[in-house]
């Protein structure tokens, strides 16, 4: 009984630091990607949530990622989501723009209301976003064509495959691929083929094009949609060359089967992770990025590196 005051003092001493410790600051960040169904944006979402967890623990923050992405690509719906997120109290936004022109006003309004905006994957260059993170699309197209030309020994008939005809980033990649093809006099571009952005539509388009043009010897896929399905490339490995952007889990099977010698992985998990890092720096630490444009390089995935790369997806995909 005589030890009671001592015990009380010890208990108080143990509780005091907890009482004086600062409660974590809450921070809501909006994430508006192009479309829900696209796995690259699912990886970006996981990246943003990973960054929220890591940075939250590091800086004593409670970061919530508010994911508001249209089912299908729709810039108007994205603009509405930006406006709604600002009114719902988001303190920062990361946006991948389906149509830069259409989103510029919405981004500028958010910035005017004190909500900083970062863009990733697809930029709105005329807007007041403070940073953009992603690949250089022209370079991406060039790199894909250069890799393909290398595989084809610098000669052959090439088809370029892109997804949504309206997507400005794909248009720039096509432009880059065509520019790069000029450096390889033995390469002839048959045409650029677009498709509805579903794996089935993309695979069907490859099949249709091959039936109509059996002389095609190379595919420059600046969007990797057909490779999200199994058995999309109905030819013997090595007979038709194929290089594709992205290295999603389903695509990796084509490296292993020998149909695709090189995949160029976009760092889609980083789109989300890095965007959140940049936003936290800007909002919490009032720190601007060193440059408005932050380029994320493409990572080549080959037969030698495919297994190591595949392990990343265990962390990057939603559980």
């Amino acid at each position: 009984m005589k030890h009671r005051p001592l015990l009380l003092a010890a208990a108080l001493a143990a509780l005091l630091p907890a009482a004086f410790a600062q409660a974590p600051r809450s921070l809501t960040l909006g994430l508006v990607a192009k479309s829900q169904g696209n796995p690259v944006f699912q990886a970006a979402r996981v990246g943003a949530e990973d960054a929220a967890r890591d940075l939250g623990a590091k800086h004593n923050l409670r970061i919530r990622i508010d994911w508001r992405t249209p089912n299908e690509e729709d810039a108007q719906k994205q603009a509405e989501a930006i406006e709604q997120l600002v009114l719902a109290g988001a303190e920062g936004l990361a946006v991948s723009c389906s149509d830069a022109n259409k989103l510029t006003d919405a981004i500028n309004s958010a910035v005017r209301d004190g909500v900083p905006v970062a863009t990733f994957d697809s930029d709105a260059p005329a807007s007041r976003r403070f940073v953009t993170y992603g690949v250089d699309d022209i370079e991406c197209g060039k790199q894909t064509m250069d890799e393909l030309a290398k595989v084809m020994g610098g000669k052959g008939v090439v088809a370029i495959l892109a997804g949504n005809q309206n997507a400005p980033n794909l248009q720039r990649r096509v432009q880059g691929a065509k520019e790069a093809a000029k450096k390889h006099p033995g390469i002839t571009i048959r045409d650029t083929y677009y498709h509805k952005e579903t794996p089935q539509d993309a695979a069907a388009r490859v099949e249709q094009v091959m039936q109509a043009n059996p002389d095609i010897t190379g595919w420059c896929m600046i969007g990797g949609w057909p490779l999200f399905t199994e058995n999309a490339l109905k030819w013997q490995p090595g007979t038709v060359a194929c290089v594709s952007v992205d290295a999603l889990p389903a695509q990796l099977a084509y490296i292993r089967s020998g149909h695709v010698p090189v995949l160029l992985a976009q760092q889609c998990h980083q789109w989300g992770y890095r965007s959140v890092e940049l936003l936290v720096d800007k909002i919490v630490f009032k720190k601007d990025p060193p440059a408005v444009k932050e380029i994320s390089p493409l990572i080549p995935v080959t037969k030698d590196t495919v297994d190591a790369f595949a392990k990343n997806w265990e962390k990057w995909l939603p559980k």
Binding site: A75, Q84, L87, A88, G89, D113, G114, N164, Q165, P168
Partner: protein, 370 residues
């Protein structure tokens, strides 16, 4: 008691009740948000108000408001509703007649891009500028005129070929989107002079853009007058109720149908013009899938897909209910993936309720006649 009964006697009272219940629910559960404070300068421009915090730093002033029940959010809700609601009024007229128009999304896209192209070429401050007013009229006229023309062609094909409007407008959907793509080469058209945007985004009071709301109300009122006060509107109900009987009673069915599809195109054009003004750009991918949103709004608003039933006010309320659910999900911070499930359930529930209502009305009628 009789007053209360009278209040709930009109056709859309159920929907209005749903809107009120949703509004109360969102107000109670949404919590608060800190919004920036603005002040209007003598020259009419708005500037953020700053204050000094405890550390002596200059920080932007904020005011705490209910997340749902604040003027900015309600204006935003009205704006987001307006594009679908305006098209839903036109779609309701088509559905009342027993038809359907699957091409409204494509008409919206084509009208937007052509309007944008004309504004870029002839609008105020552009290379081929005539006069600011003329340029704007030309751009707006191109947008709405092309949409009305597309509607008229749809109607003409439905009447001339005697093919179900589902097939005609499905084909038109693909053709018109293709034309929009070919005309723009898949590029987004923006950066045209700001005059149209200044009109559509005109801010009143606390920075509220109420033009989309005003246009939506005007279209709803005109739709109500057309359907319930004019003989032309009555003819639409007659055709939807029983086309053969309407024909035998002397109604020129083909002529009415032409007008119906023209109206549907016209409302898509008005929505496209508003969107063009508000967002300042257009692409051939605009309005993808909007036909289903518009049909859903009309059906939730009480239009019967078998024809003969529906109102303009119901269409607007239907669009409002769907948008409230969609916005409410953001406001309440609910996982977005659930929004499709909720909206789909609302559409089915609306149709089921409509069927129950029709069944009860028939039962009452049969009891009255016995």
């Amino acid at each position: 008691m009789s007053r209360l009964r009278a209040l709930f006697a009109f056709q859309e009272s159920g929907l209005l009740l749903v809107v009120v219940v949703l509004g109360v629910m969102f107000t109670v559960f949404s919590g608060t948000v800190k919004l920036p404070v603005w002040e209007t300068q003598p020259d009419g421009s708005r500037r953020r108000v700053f204050t000094v915090n405890a550390e002596g730093e200059r920080v932007p002033a904020v005011v705490e408001k209910n997340k749902f029940l604040n003027a900015q959010n309600l204006a935003q809700l009205a704006k987001d509703t307006s594009f679908t609601a305006i098209m839903a009024v036109g779609m309701t007229v088509v559905i009342i007649s027993g038809g359907i128009d699957l091409s409204v999304g494509a008409i919206y896209a084509l009208a937007s891009v052509l309007g944008a192209m004309v504004l870029t070429r002839y609008g105020p401050g552009s290379p081929g500028e005539m006069s600011p007013v003329l340029g704007l009229l030309l751009g707006g006229g191109a947008c709405v005129g092309v949409a009305a023309l597309c509607g008229l062609v749809n109607g003409g094909l439905v009447v001339a070929l005697r093919v179900h409007p589902f097939i005609i407008t499905l084909g038109a959907m693909a053709i018109l989107r293709g034309v929009a793509f070919v005309s723009t080469k898949g590029q987004s058209i923006g950066g045209f002079p700001a005059e149209l945007r200044d009109i559509v985004r005109f801010e009143m009071g606390d920075g509220l853009s109420l033009v989309p709301l005003a246009v939506m109300v005007a279209v709803a009122v005109l739709g109500w007058i057309f359907l319930s006060r004019l003989a032309a509107g009555r003819r639409v109900y007659a055709i939807g109720g029983n086309e053969l009987a309407a024909r035998f009673s002397g109604i020129r069915v083909e002529r009415v149908k032409l007008g119906i599809y023209l109206l549907s195109g016209l409302t898509a054009g008005i929505a496209a013009l508003l969107s063009l003004g508000y967002y300042g750009a257009a692409t051939s991918g605009d309005g993808q899938g909007y036909e289903l949103n518009v049909i859903a709004a009309a059906v939730v608003g009480g239009a019967s897909l078998t024809g003969g039933k529906g109102t303009a006010l119901g269409a607007v309320l239907g669009a409002l209910v769907i948008q409230m659910i969609s916005s409410g999900i953001v406001i309440l911070g609910i996982e977005q993936s659930y929004s499709q499930i909720v909206i789909g359930a609302v559409v089915i529930a609306a149709v089921v309720l409509d069927n129950v209502n029709t069944w009860l009305a028939r039962r009452r009628l049969s009891r009255g006649t016995v």
